[in-house]
Symmetry: C2
Subunit: 449 residues, 2 copies
């Protein structure tokens, strides 16, 4: 008896572990481009010494070498070599429209100063979904002038990327559940200097069975989710809750009122929309029933042309409704954008106090996605330190208990508002400025130790 138990135990030890059962398959034969097809522009793709080499040409759109086959859940690994400033990427779960126009998720190869290689860009659709401004530690994972190992995991709505073992993106998005894989050589427009710049890929292997068993994941990397009015497991675990349920008015009321406003707001198709004023309607701001001091608030908003709204926080209705405000505005068409002092009334600014500007490393461009598109506002408040983020780029940071904040308030239109911005906690308020603006996916977590 004893001996047989012993042998069973030994036998278990020598069972091949699950990883041995992985069925990795190559999707590039190392010799020619069979199984691959060209889409979009006319950049050149060749096989040289076992690698696919993509070379830029002027005056042609972005060009994609795509798998004929489509993939849903998979783990893809490959290597990339880049020695010059050529933007490139690897599409996945992608598709085409209008005869060659590729769209869908792209794992970026981004040699620009911001160094967002490994971030996820939504080509031809929503733009940056996971910029590395949310994971700055991963910006140095990719190295120029050497082979870099990439890994993309796509499982259900979870999309993860890794470069040289460092997790870069952790995205949750449900726009596309399958599609082809495609290698991008980005358009270089008419920049002669970049003519002939090239990028190399090799050693493509893919796993498409039992994908969930092989998901890696760095617990320190932030997840970004675009699920509509729905929390991911990780968000729940991190203490997030929906501040609006997507359907009812629960948790919200009019300012200095027990009721939700009878007019001015509409709930439809998972959107909370403040309506443009009609002659006979009367608008009202709405506030949360709950109060928040240390918190992280995330919400998506969509402005119509020329619209004005805003997210106030630390709102104390008893004393005043004036409070710190994340400005929401169509900067191009609303006159308030040119008022205030040096742009401190523009989108994402701390209204009338601190002008918004990209603060994340290497970012210069305004991250606003445009009127009629969904944009993400994030407000983080912890022990006096407050940040405004727009589409995952940090735009404002200040310390509400500092001497400089007080000095700034005294210069602003809030001079004379005692204790402005310094209440321990307050409601969150959404502005009704009589312009149509929609909100959804309003999530909050408290940041108490």
């Amino acid at each position: 008896m004893r001996n047989s138990v012993f042998f069973i135990f030994i036998g278990l030890l020598f069972c091949p572990p699950a990883t041995f059962a992985q069925e990795w398959k190559s999707i590039f034969n190392g010799k020619d481009l069979s199984g691959w097809v060209l889409k979009g522009g006319e950049a050149e793709f060749k096989v040289i010494e076992g690698a696919i080499v993509g070379t830029a040409r002027i005056n042609t759109p972005s060009t994609y070498l795509c798998t004929e086959k489509k993939y849903d859940d998979f783990i893809l690994e490959f290597e990339v070599y880049l020695s010059n400033e050529l933007n490139a990427g690897v599409q996945f779960r992608s598709d085409e429209r209008n005869n060659g126009e590729v769209y869908g998720y792209q794992c970026e190869i981004d040699p620009k100063k911001r160094k967002w290689t490994g971030g996820i860009y939504d080509q031809g659709r929503k733009g940056w979904l996971y910029p590395l401004s949310r994971n700055e530690g991963a910006r140095d994972a990719f190295q120029m002038g050497r082979w870099n190992k990439f890994r993309i995991e796509a499982y259900g709505n979870q999309l993860n990327t890794y470069v040289n073992g460092t997790q870069c993106s952790r995205l949750v998005d449900d726009q596309s559940s399958d599609g082809f894989i495609g290698l991008q050589v980005h358009s270089i427009g008419d920049r002669n200097k970049k003519e002939g710049y090239s990028v190399k890929w090799k050693n493509f292997i893919i796993l498409s069975k039992e994908v969930d068993k092989h998901i890696k994941l760095d617990p320190n990397v932030s997840e970004i989710s675009y699920l509509k009015n729905e929390l991911t497991d990780r968000e729940k675990k991190n203490g997030f809750r929906l501040l609006w349920d997507g359907v009812t008015t629960e948790g919200w009321r009019g300012v200095r009122s027990n009721e939700f406003p009878a007019q001015g707001w509409k709930i439809e198709e998972g959107m909370l929309t403040v309506l443009a004023d009609e002659a006979n309607s009367k608008g009202e701001h709405i506030v949360t029933m709950d109060q928040f001091g240390n918190f992280e608030l995330v919400l998506d908003f969509r402005v119509t042309k020329g619209a004005n709204s805003g997210i106030r926080y630390f709102v104390n209705e008893e004393r005043t409704v004036s409070a710190c405000e994340y400005q929401i505005l169509d900067d191009k068409k609303h006159p308030d954008a040119s008022k205030g002092t040096n742009g401190n009334r523009k989108l994402a600014s701390l209204y009338d106090l601190v002008p918004a500007e990209p603060l994340s490393s290497g970012v210069k461009k305004d991250p606003f996605k445009g009127v009629g598109k969904w944009n993400r506002a994030t407000i983080v408040s912890k022990d006096g330190k407050v940040e405004h983020w727009l589409n995952n780029v940090k735009m404002v940071e200040y310390d509400r208990y500092s001497q400089m904040f007080e000095a700034l308030v005294l210069y602003s239109k809030y001079s004379g508002h005692e204790n402005f911005g310094r209440w321990d906690a307050g409601s969150i308020m959404l502005h009704d400025h009589h312009d149509e603006v929609s909100f959804r996916s309003i999530k909050i977590r408290e940041l108490n130790d």
Copy 2:
């Protein structure tokens, strides 16, 4: 031979160490007040159970129980018990004038919120010389409702205090080289509530020979020196140098000039004085030949009635002379004090940007010593973080590279001054505003790692 060397060695080991030779003497016999004499007011001093008990009375000035004997260099130890909010202290190297008015150094017993017990106050003369705002860690050394051990070291111009083993003050001052020791019960005015409040002292011992051999010293405690145009050894060791030699114009010149101004300034009696304008004189600001970025600047200034001056720093003459300014002003009489925004043009403010206010723990009172008195300005600049101190109390703090600083500048009169306050380094500039203001003891050290 070998043996005799050995015994000499052993002999040295058993020599009594220097501490054994200390000649501590008692200055209170534990029974009566012989050797002590009362000065000033009529608070009561009695001997009870081996301790001297001082008890407050209303409507009498501060009262002092003083040694008949005078001491120059000494180390004094004693114990203090306080159980109520009665201000008290121990005078040393003190004297009297006008029949009972005691003046001189006082080791404070300070039960107020600021907790400056162990600090050194210059009674009847210059006020606070060593406030614990420069040594906040020592504010908790003294405890109410128990016996606390005090130690005062006076050696040459060095004056150190300790409470329960914690060094509180490290002062260098040369006003008085000897005087009596005196126990103070502070006046309580007409506050009936404090009538009968008491303070107890016991176990006085004094050492007055070979004092230098027994000086303790905590190397982490800042030294404050009031020597005129002269550096202490410790200041030299810490990298300080005189920015003005007290005699010549060396190191200084007129703005955008190679020469020191021919008019408007006077050097006399160790003071650098900007003169009030006469009809025929023309004033000019002066700047240092050297440039400073990370630095600690300490200087003493004296304003005349209604006077205006200032200390600019990070001055870039090529581009502009407008730069960050430590405002120097007679707030009471100069009209600029009420201009600007909420007092941001008052003494010690970051001119037109950040209003000065006491920031050190527990301090409420404006630390200005008055027109015609010497006051100390300190400016610390390190990696963007800048502080203004007035008479050793922190009054302003800001980060010149922060987004808030930029937002504040844009609201101020410096809006449009490109790169204001952000040059890596610049000259130090003293303002000639055509009002008489004197400077001395101008010291600087660079704070590079």
